[in-house]
Symmetry: C2
Subunit: 338 residues, 2 copies
Amino acid sequence: MDPKTYAEAGVDIHKADAFVARLKHSARRDGHRRLWPAAGGYASVYPVHGNLAVALTTDGVGTKLLVALEQNKLDTIGIDLVAMCVNDLLCVGATPSAFLDYYATGKLDERLSDDLVKGIIQGCDQACMLLVGGETAELPDLYQNGHFDIAGFAMGTVSKESLITGEHLTAGDKLIGVASTGIHSNGFSLARKLVPLESPLRKSLLNPTAIYAAPVVRLLNEYPGCIKGMAHITGGGWTNVTRPQRNLGYVIEHHLPVPEVMKFMAEKVSAEEMFKTFNMGMGLCVMTSDEHVDRVVNTFASSQLQSMVVGEIAGKKPVLTIKGALGGKDIVLNNSTK
Amino acid sequence: MDPKTYAEAGVDIHKADAFVARLKHSARRDGHRRLWPAAGGYASVYPVHGNLAVALTTDGVGTKLLVALEQNKLDTIGIDLVAMCVNDLLCVGATPSAFLDYYATGKLDERLSDDLVKGIIQGCDQACMLLVGGETAELPDLYQNGHFDIAGFAMGTVSKESLITGEHLTAGDKLIGVASTGIHSNGFSLARKLVPLESPLRKSLLNPTAIYAAPVVRLLNEYPGCIKGMAHITGGGWTNVTRPQRNLGYVIEHHLPVPEVMKFMAEKVSAEEMFKTFNMGMGLCVMTSDEHVDRVVNTFASSQLQSMVVGEIAGKKPVLTIKGALGGKDIVLNNSTK
C-alpha cells in the first residue's frame, strides 16, 4: 500500500523538531545572546567585528541520494547540497562566501566522488561562493557497500544593515513566489514511494535544486531593506512561509505552475499533506512592500527565474491560508504547524 | 586473521588523499587566492574584514561511532566530534567561536540523541565555543536501524597577527608534545579489530579526545607569534608532525607515555604502522623557539595537560626521524608519506 502521509513514509517531523528545540535550549544557556536574531532561524548569525557578522548553516540532501544512486546519476546532487545551504543563508540576508562538504562512504569510488565534487563546484559557482574544504571519510564498517552520505556547511557574511530580521513585516506586504525547478531536495522519503520506478516522472525527481543566490544578493546589495522577509521552501513545505514572522497572517491565492510530478502525487495524497511536504512549484517566497514588487520580479527575471505575487500578509490571526488549493477547498495551516 | 595494517583493515588513505587533492585542485581554479595560506591546511582561512579572517573546518569521528554503539555509550562521542574540529582550528592560530553539527540517522532515538547533544555541548564548553545550530536528518531508507553518522563544522576567528603560517619555523626550533587522552578519534577501523571485545582495554578506546583550546588560545593571545607551528595528531598519526612545514627535517627522540592500548596493539602491528596510524600518546605537537619552551609547557600544565620537549627541527632533509621508536630501531618517515 502506498504511504499517504510523510509520517507513514517513516519520517516523524515533530520528533525531529523536538530534538532540535531541546538542542537549542541546552546550548542557549551560555552566551547565545551573542548571536544576532535573524528571521526564521534559517542560519545562525555570529557577529565578528563591529557591524559585521558571519552567517552559518548546515544541511544535507537526505533521501534524494538514494534516488540518485538508483538512477546512477550523481553529478548534480552536489548542486542540491549547495542549494540547500545557500538558500538558507540568503533568508537571513547573508551573501554566500565559503562552502565545505563532509562526504562519508563505505568504500571510496573515484567516479562517484568525482561526480559529487563536480556538482558541488557547479553549485558553488552558481552561488558565487568558494569551495574551501571538506572531509572525506572512508568508513568501511559504518556504511554499507555503495552507500554514503554527504553534508554541507556554508558561511556567508552579513552586515547589520542587510540582516533580515522579519520585524518590519506588516499587513499588506506582498508575498512573491519564485519558481522551483521541481521537488528540490525534500519530501523524498514520500516521493520515492509514490512515483513508480518506471514512470518518466521518476527522472524529474533529480532536477537540481534552484540556487537563488545571484538575484537575491543583487537585491540585498542594490536595494538594502527591500527584502523584509524570505522563506526557503524546504522540509515542511509551505509551513515555511510563516517562518520569518510567526505572529502574522499570510494569505496565498495565486499559484505558480505546479510541477507535473506533484500533480501526479496529489492524486494519492491529500492537498494539505502535499502543501505541508512539497514546495508545490514555489522554491522561495520573498516578502516585500508594494512599491518594491516590480523591482523584485524583474531582478528574478533577469536571472531567468519566474516569479509573481502569490499573496500577501493579512490580518493578525497567525495562520497561513491557501485559497483554492489545487483547485479545491481552502487550506488553513496554523503558523506553528509543521 | 588480525589485520596488520590500516589498508588491510579496509582503509585506503592514499586514495582518500587523492580525492581531496583533486577536490582542492578543481576548486582552486577560481578565487582560491582569496584565502590566507595557513600552516598544514588544518583549516581554511577566509578573510572577512581588513585584518580579520574566519577559519573553517569540518570533521567526523568515523568508526569510533561503532565502538560507542557497541558499548552503548554515546554521551562523550560529541566531545570527540568537537575536539576533532576545534584542534584543527587551533593549528592555524584561530580562536574557536561557533560549532554546528549534522546528525543523520535511520530512526531518531531520543535517549541517543540527548546523549549526543550532551557531549557536543560539553565539548563546546571546553572549547569556549558556542553550539549555534545543526541539522537533524531522519533518513529511514539510507541508514540501517540503529546506525547513524555525525559531522561537525567549526568556525573560529583569526587575525593576520595570530595566523600560523609555518613560514617562521627553522632548524633548532623545539617540538613540544602534548599528551593525548588515548587513541582519540582515529585509527578505529584497525583498533576495533585488534583489541578484543572482552579486553578491559576495549573501554579505554572511548576516552574522549582531548580539547586543547584553553591553553592554546591563552598562548595565542598572551604571546602572539610564540607558536610557530602546530600539528594536531589525527588520521595519519605522526606523519602530521611535518604538516606545518614540509621542507624541513624533524627529529623526535623523547616520548610521552604511550597509552596501554597502543602498547597492546604494537605487539601485533609494526612500529612504523603504529606511528603512521595512532597518536602514540602525543595528541598535539607545538613548535616554538627555545626561549618560549617553558612558557608553553607551563601553560599546558596550568590546564592539567602534560607536555614536554620531544624533539626539534633539524637539518634540511625533509623527513621525520623517530629515534628509538618504541624502544627499537629508528623510523624515518618521508614528509610526503601518509
